[in-house]
């Protein structure tokens, strides 16, 4: 499936170093499918031990049905659990705009067709300020022109070329691509010194 652009309302979470344990606590990894993961997104951040809802953008009525997440630096650091992007995707997030992402997390997002794009703090902050006042604002992330547009504003985004290509061409699931080199794989495997 090609992904050239993502359109939707946005949900702000402009914090740094949000780790995968915060995105989904380990006790919710105990399932053998990803089906329920959407329910567990930011679980402990969203409710206290008695089940009372805490203040969190994911609990905020005005950001319900938003599909673009706005974050700060080093988002998704920590564990390799694909459950983290799976939880966000199944919650309804279709793309993430951030200052920077942990590598394994970014790779996991790509593997499941969830674009993560990079922008400057200033641009993200300005956008967050705007949508905090106007939560109904629609954002468009355009991977072709590498721009995000909202209201009368727009800003540039970055994305590593291979990732961008794979979304534009619809090859973000690389299985078929990897399989085409089967003979080469065989030769190299048998020539490994171990």
């Amino acid at each position: 499936m090609k992904i050239e652009s993502v359109m939707g309302k946005a949900i702000p979470l402009l914090l740094d170093d949000i780790d995968t344990d915060r995105i989904i606590p380990a006790r919710y990894l105990k399932e053998i499918t990803f089906d329920n993961m959407g329910k567990y997104a930011f679980f402990d951040e969203r409710q206290d031990s008695k089940g009372n809802l805490k203040e969190h953008p994911f609990n905020d009525k005005q950001f319900q049905h938003a599909s673009i997440l706005l974050v700060g630096k080093n988002f998704g650091c920590g564990s390799s659990r694909e459950h983290a992007p799976q939880a966000l995707k199944r919650y309804g997030i279709k793309a993430i705009i951030g200052e920077s992402f942990a590598e394994i997390f970014a790779g996991n997002c790509k593997a499941i067709g969830l674009p993560v794009v990079y922008a400057t703090r200033d641009d993200i902050k300005q956008c967050v300020d705007f949508i905090s006042k106007h939560p109904e604002t629609m954002l468009t992330i355009n991977l072709v022109s590498k721009r995000v547009r909202y209201f009368e504003e727009s800003f540039l985004i970055a994305m590593p070329d291979p990732q961008r290509e794979s979304f534009l061409k619809g090859t973000w699931n690389v299985l078929d691509l990897l399989k085409t080199n089967d003979i080469l794989i065989n030769d190299l495997e048998s020539s490994l010194p171990y």
Binding site: A26, L29, R81, E103, D182, L188, L192
Partner: protein
């Protein structure tokens, strides 16, 4: 870009092709799996009726979810743990994958058993659905964590699509002070380079401090590369590496060993290798380190004060404030003498024989403080056996600590080993993230095994150097 480093050489040796996306297709020489990040990968394979391409290159263990007592009693009390374990057992059988189960005598945390069994060797590419796969870099291999979709790719094609990283050499010179351990070295490195400083880099650890480290110490350092943002951390193999590997279960003997040694030498970084970045640290200046916050980079020397937010930029201010709030600590207070409730000695960072020896040495003829609960969890069945042979278990038990069966345990608390409420835990694990040790309000101080043991005795954070001198 870096040239003639171990990273470049091992990459080139495993490169299958350049893909149309511009990425390289890399062959994975060793694939390690466990129960938590694989069920969906196998499910996708089974759905497509696909088979595992090279089953002899994948090895499985149970570690994350396994209880640390009565491990042989099945079914496990926790039904989800039982289902996850059963699913793995079914899948490895179905696909002909070697599995170290609880009856094998070789079960344990994936990053402890790989090296211990000699599966991990220099010059390999090693992938595992776990971010601490960087541990295996201690042997001069490229070990890195992958997600579940990538686990499926490795199972089905033995390859991954990857973009090469830059290489940063981190040279730690001089000698460490007495009482300062490998854990302190890596906490210092993360503190200096930042938790995001390593994004886009592989770390090559070198210098006199690493030359004189044992393999287990090198593993502790490489293990936490990922906490500094670096997906890969490695040390060039040397005589210490060779000596460690001789006679391990999965290391060939005789002539084949000599041939392998030749390969290992060939992949070492050249003296004139080019790096994308170099960082120098004076080893003698490193103090015993303790984390005070909610990321592994929020650490200080044991005698330092917690930071304040005066004249810090906004984003940093926010990080410090939210960390202090979660930890229920005040700015500008000492970390020394903070009262702790729980001590956890374990995890793939510090649960090997040398770590347990280090902690036992401190515990000997001492008692766990009356208000402290201490848990010691060996990294593998082999570590447990060896430790018991030396009588380490007795030292811990006599001191009043809990001596458990191997597993990840309270490192991520997927089994019953958990913090309660806002307990403060002195932990030898690698992550102090909010909620990591099982309680959303639980609090973690990362430190070395000796420092954790000392904290257990005093019920407070103490400086190991003072203790050694006494």
């Amino acid at each position: 870009m870096a040239e003639r480093t171990l990273y470049n050489k091992v990459w080139d040796k495993h490169k299958v092709a350049t893909l149309p996306t511009g990425q390289d297709q890399l062959l994975i020489g060793l694939h390690l799996i466990h129960e938590v990040t694989t069920p969906q990968a196998f499910a996708s394979l089974n759905e497509r009726k696909a088979s595992v391409r090279f089953p002899h290159r994948t090895f499985a263990t149970l570690d994350h979810i396994i209880p640390t007592e009565n491990q042989l009693n099945r079914p496990f009390l926790d039904q989800q743990a039982e289902l996850m374990s059963k699913t793995l057992e079914y899948n490895v059988k179905e696909h002909g994958i070697t599995f170290f189960n609880s009856h094998s005598g070789n079960q344990g945390i994936v990053h402890v058993i790989g090296p211990e069994l000699g599966l991990t060797k220099p010059g390999m590419t090693i992938a595992c659905g776990d971010s601490h796969t960087s541990t295996h870099g201690a042997f001069g291999s490229l070990g890195f964590g992958i997600g579940t979709s990538e686990v499926a790719l490795v199972l089905e094609t033995q390859t991954l699509a990857l973009t090469p990283l830059k290489v940063r050499k981190i040279e730690v010179t001089g000698t460490l002070q007495k009482g300062v351990s490998a854990k302190d070295v890596i906490l210092k490195i993360i503190n200096k380079c930042g938790v995001k400083g390593g994004i886009g880099y592989a770390y090559e650890f070198s210098g006199a401090v690493f030359d004189s480290m044992s393999m287990e110490e090198r593993m502790t350092v490489c293990n936490m590369s990922i906490e500094g943002g670096a997906r890969i951390g490695y040390v060039n193999p040397d005589q210490t590496t060779v000596d460690y590997l001789v006679d391990r279960k999965y290391v060939p003997k005789g002539e084949s060993f000599d041939q392998l040694k030749h390969y290992w030498q060939s992949i070492c970084s050249d003296n004139d290798a080019i790096y994308d970045d170099v960082v120098m640290i004076d080893g003698s200046s490193i103090e015993p380190m303790v984390t005070w916050g909610i990321t592994p980079g929020q650490s200080i020397g044991v005698n330092d004060l917690l930071p304040n937010t005066t004249s810090k930029p906004d984003d940093e201010k926010q990080l410090i404030e939210s960390a202090l709030a979660h930890m229920k600590f005040q700015a500008d207070t000492p970390i020394l003498d903070k009262v702790i409730d729980v001590v956890f000695v374990g995890s793939c960072t510090n649960s090997r024989l040398s770590d347990l020896r280090e902690a036992a040495e401190i515990m000997k003829n001492n008692n766990v403080h009356k208000d402290v609960k201490m848990m010691v969890v060996p990294g593998s069945q082999n570590v447990k056996k060896e430790a018991e042979k030396e009588g380490l278990d007795k030292i811990f038990i006599e001191a009043g600590a809990d001596w458990r069966d191997p597993g990840c345990s309270m490192c991520l608390a997927m089994n019953p080993d958990k913090l309660e409420k806002d307990q403060l835990c002195a932990s030898t694990s690698n992550r102090n993230f909010i909620g990591r040790q099982g309680s959303p309000t639980g609090r973690t101080l990362l430190m070395s095994p000796a420092m954790a043991a000392l904290a257990a005795i005093h019920g407070k954070v103490k400086d190991i150097r003072t203790f050694i001198e006494i």
